[in-house]
């Protein structure tokens, strides 16, 4: 069977592509080009005075020790979130994939957090971990563990890692589970007949077979940690205490939206765009070699 579609009409293919192109242009190319344009300008918020400064904004941003600090925070944060999310989600998926009573209930319950908006998740976590009004936060202090994420940077970072991961685990769980369920039962049974224990089965059969899923999730989680965690950070810590939870994304927001420094904020967006593109490229370049596509 020939798989290539042949169009006799010359216009039809472009017509079919049009909706996607329009969306991409309006929601990506246009704002992205605006960001790039803005990043070489120095402008007051009202646009009354504009000066072309070429790469000066980039120079300022990159020589700013606070920006370097934000890079470090982001690195620690994204790696922690990604690891935490994937390990736990994989564990849950492997567990839920077994033949156990009420498996369906577990699966449903594990998916709930995904339905929550990040800010709502943050409010919930605050109810639990707030050192003054949170149930668990108070208990920790009563037990003599001085927990105060409003003043302790490490605590704050731990909290936003947990809160962000909690939301993302559901998403990862779903993909891992789908991956595991697509493995033919025969393969698993064969391994078991050969005498593979649970760990051996997982290590040598299941894990390699779901590697495309793992790879996909790795990329998605990194991107999630970079961009979609703004709501959690904003609602829980506002980037503090000190600057201990100010990630690159949060800095773009606070410089651009709160402080109205459009040029530098735009420059940061462009840098962020480059960093993440590079990360994705690296992942495909080096990690993908170890992935088996079925």
């Amino acid at each position: 069977m020939q798989r290539r579609a042949i169009f006799n009409n010359r216009i039809l293919p472009y017509f079919l592509l049009l909706p996607q192109l329009v969306i991409t242009i309006i929601f990506f190319f246009w704002p992205a080009s605006q960001a790039i344009y803005q990043s070489v300008l120095e402008q007051d918020p009202f646009g009354l005075r504009t000066r072309f400064v070429f790469l000066e904004n980039f120079q300022t941003v990159l020589s700013d020790p606070l920006y370097i600090e934000a890079i470090q925070v982001t690195a620690i944060f994204s790696v922690s979130v990604t690891l935490f999310v994937m390990v736990l989600a994989l564990f849950f998926a492997v567990m839920a994939d077994r033949q156990i009573r009420g498996a369906q209930t577990y699966k449903t319950l594990l998916l709930w957090p995904y339905a929550l908006a990040p800010a709502v998740a943050a409010v919930l976590w605050n109810f639990i971990f707030n050192p003054f009004i949170g149930i668990f936060g108070r208990a920790l202090n009563d037990w003599g563990l001085l927990w105060d994420y409003k003043l302790n940077g490490t605590h704050a970072l731990i909290l936003i890692v947990i809160a962000s991961s909690w939301k993302q685990i559901a998403h990862n769980f779903l993909f891992f589970l789908a991956g595991l369920q697509s493995i033919p039962a025969a393969v698993v049974e064969a391994a078991m007949i050969d005498g593979a224990g649970a760990w051996k089965l997982f290590r040598s059969v299941l894990f390699p077979l779901i590697s495309p899923t793992t790879f996909y999730l790795l990329t998605i989680n990194m991107v999630f940690a970079f961009f979609d965690t703004f709501g959690v950070i904003h609602a829980l810590t506002d980037g503090g205490p000190g600057r201990s939870t100010t990630t690159l994304m949060y800095k773009v927001y606070s410089d651009g939206y709160v402080n109205l420094n459009l040029g530098q904020s735009a420059a940061q967006s462009v840098i962020l765009m480059l960093i993440v593109s590079a990360l994705v490229w690296l992942q495909f370049r080096f990690v993908e070699g170890k992935v088996h596509y079925a």
Partner: protein, 493 residues
């Protein structure tokens, strides 16, 4: 398969980045319409505490322009002006009610009040609208945005100029000096005061009694405050002695005013954009050191940035709180104990103290846009005249807990017997007017003030964590703050 995956991922990545680009339109980080005013907004009597209720901007939230209620129709033949405001419920309701009454009292003009989210969102919306040539006629802007607005010459029409053009006989003297001064250049009023508050001390009378402290003699000075806080904790009356909300507004900006020391040169920035921060003086360092010592001995608890600490007082956790006068309504509603109010403490060994405190809150700005008519400006002037009337001002003061903006509004409230029924409700006014404002207690006008406040939060938090000394914290804050000011100055050169 591989290539598709790569392409898909890249598109996802770029789409996310694109959404994050600071396009002039307030797209992704917009607050939901119900958001309580946040960031550097100072007074919020009934607004939610940050940790529990205040909804925060999220990518999933609806855009701030989404209005829930249908807008009332404009009666035909009226000149309509748009008024964007950033006060959440229930304060925003009072404002809308006042606007409605204005419209009813009119047959010529009509003010259309539109809620635009918190102050930061309202500011961004107004800026984006101005750039698109569709600025609202009036916009409410928080006090720390004053420098940005004043620098935007051409985008705004100063109130004194509006008065001249529309034949409005504006007398600045009817407004309270510490309120008017914040929004004036010399004698010329630039924006119209609306909601102002000032920080005061609230204390838990029940806890004071339990600790053996005399609630009729609340602490006046820092030494007394510290002793009382210590006693509260040691006697087990409360878990924490002292806390405060809006840390920088109260213990940097107001602290400087009370002690008549400069926050910055050039009369705290009022005389020019080349002002330099001066808040690493010995007295400023001494306050931070006192707070650090108190935190160590357990008599003070840092409750977080902005309004995050407010909850600690009504919950009974802390026996004393320094908070906005506008927190009154909330404390009244949520506290299950007797409480009292008094003046903010000061260091009594400084000569000539205490001076008047300064305000926080917001004012109304007139914005220009292509195609504005003289009638529209007249409508704005008419509305400003209306809110300056003693009865309207008194109502605003009594229903919201904000300060009156005019002396007459205060007199009217007194005549109404409101202060007899609500003892202590006149304390903010008394503290604000107890001395003639000096150069150091008139207010401040520093560019990018929201950012400077964040810098101070960061340095203080590091000091409270024991990562640096009080002097290092204040020196760092001044150094970083000055860089921010120079950045601002450069943008407007």
């Amino acid at each position: 398969m591989k290539r598709t995956l790569l392409v898909l991922t890249l598109i996802a990545v770029f789409a996310t980045i694109a959404a994050c680009a600071p396009a002039p339109t307030p797209a992704p980080t917009a607050a939901p319409p119900t958001a309580a005013p946040k960031a550097t907004e100072a007074p919020k009597p009934t607004a939610a505490p940050k940790p529990t209720e205040a909804p925060k901007p999220t990518t999933a939230a609806p855009a701030p322009t989404a209005t829930t209620a249908p807008r009332p129709t404009v009666p035909p033949g009226r000149v309509k002006v748009e008024f964007w405001f950033g006060l959440g419920k229930p304060l925003g309701d009072v404002l809308e009610a006042i606007v409605m009454d204005f419209n009813k009292s009119q047959d010529k003009y009509y003010v259309d009040a539109i809620y635009k989210g918190g102050y930061v969102d309202t500011m961004n919306a107004a800026i984006a609208a101005y750039r698109a040539g569709k600025a609202p006629h009036i916009v409410q802007m928080f006090e720390v945005g004053t420098a940005t607005m004043m620098a935007a010459k051409g985008a705004i029409k100063p109130v004194y100029q509006l008065a001249q053009e529309t034949g409005w006989n504006l007398d600045p003297k009817i407004y309270i000096p510490a309120v008017r001064g914040y929004y004036s250049e010399g004698d010329k009023m630039i924006s119209m005061p609306l909601n102002s508050s000032t920080p005061i001390m609230y204390y838990n009378i029940d806890a004071f009694k339990k600790a053996g402290l005399d609630p009729t003699k609340p602490p006046k000075t820092w030494a007394e405050t510290r002793a009382a806080a210590k006693k509260l904790v040691e006697s087990g009356a409360t878990k924490c002695g002292l806390t405060f909300e809006w840390p920088t507004w109260i213990h940097l900006e107001n602290f400087s005013a009370l002690h008549n020391i400069p926050l910055a040169t050039k009369a705290n920035g009022m005389l020019g954009m080349d002002a330099e921060l001066k808040f690493n003086s010995d007295l400023h360092i001494r306050l931070l050191q006192t707070l650090m010592d108190m935190a160590k001995e357990g008599s003070f608890k840092y409750g977080g940035r902005d309004g995050a600490a407010t909850v600690l007082f009504p919950s009974g956790e802390c026996g004393i709180i320094h908070a906005s006068s506008a927190a009154r309504a909330r404390i009244q509603r949520e506290s299950k104990f007797a409480w009292g109010v008094t003046y903010l403490p000061y260091f009594d060994d400084v000569p000539g103290v205490p001076k008047n405190s300064i305000i926080g809150g917001a004012s109304l700005w007139v914005m220009n846009a292509p195609g504005r008519t003289a009638d529209e400006y007249k409508a704005i002037a008419e509305f400003f005249k209306y809110i300056s009337k003693p009865e309207v001002d008194a109502r605003w003061h009594q229903e919201t807990g904000y300060l009156p903006i005019t002396h007459a509004g205060n007199d009217k409230t007194k005549a109404d017997g409101y202060y007899q029924k609500n003892p202590g409700a006149d304390l903010p006014y008394l503290q604000l007017t107890r001395t003639e404002p000096t150069e150091n207690s008139l207010g401040l006008r520093l560019g990018n003030m929201p950012q400077i406040r964040i810098v101070v939060y960061e340095e203080w938090e590091k000091a409270f964590q024991g990562q640096q000394t009080a002097k290092q914290a204040m020196d760092n804050a001044v150094k970083r703050g000055n860089e921010i000011l120079r950045e601002f100055e450069k943008t407007y050169k």
